[in-house]
Subunit: 148 residues, 2 copies
């Protein structure tokens, strides 16, 4: 992996050069990554015309490195297991959705959608109202204890 | 790592439950991850009040999994080397900024800032105008050849 930096004053044209380079490199079927430093933490991630929005389409991965947060875009279709690989340093991961995924314990909130009956592999605990929230918390903490 | 899913109909209160759980789990000093499925690709990543914006502050990592993009937030201060660890599947990585970083080849666009003279470890190639863009592209392609 060849890593190089583009440096220069504010408004010197760094991003314009990088747009040109990444477009040309993408045309050559190279897997291009882009890391943008945002030392002041001003970078908005959805903003049209932002540096990351301009360069991202030419990359397979783009990161905006802000002081206390790094935002990483992976521009490929990932399945749940591939996403979970980024979370191995966590004690627990809450997954919202992916209801057809098999194997993981499931908390059902409200009623099951009629067309899903029989298609969901398991329901471990159900939540009818806010009264049930503490019950779910206890269930999570117990599962964490049993993991250790 | 304990992984569980929260499922239920649209507007059933999944995110409200997850907000409660992740807040309680964070209070217990657990490293919490959150993965939100966005099967229709409608999720905006900066939007206030969005599911990820509500839960993210309670996590160390949050991901929004859209059809062709996964957005991952790492809510910790990372240095360049730690960010580069996410890019190992790329052929090349363009880094914009991090001018005081040592070791990596550097392209300078425009003039060097006066207060930086002597503080930047190396400048491999300089860009004065758009005429120089192809020269930089050739330089990148040559470096890639030499890597192999």
């Amino acid at each position: 992996m060849f890593v190089f930096q583009v440096i220069g004053k504010h408004n010197s044209g760094k991003t314009t050069l990088i747009e040109f380079l990444t477009e040309e490199l993408k045309k050559r079927n190279l897997r291009v990554g882009y890391i943008k430093h945002d030392p002041k933490g001003k970078g908005l991630t959805d903003k049209e015309g932002s540096d990351t929005a301009r360069v991202k389409p030419n990359t397979v991965k783009t990161a905006l490195v802000s002081p206390n947060t790094t935002t990483l875009w992976i521009l490929e279709r990932l399945n749940l297991q591939e996403v979970l690989n980024f979370f191995t340093d966590c004690d627990l991961v809450v997954v919202e959705g992916f209801k057809f995924e098999k194997g993981f314990p499931k908390v059902l909130v409200g009623e099951v959608e009629e067309d899903l009956v029989g298609k969901i592999d398991r329901i471990d605990i159900t939540v009818g109202s806010k009264e049930d929230y503490k019950k779910v918390l206890e269930w999570v903490l117990n599962n964490l204890k049993n993991e250790k």
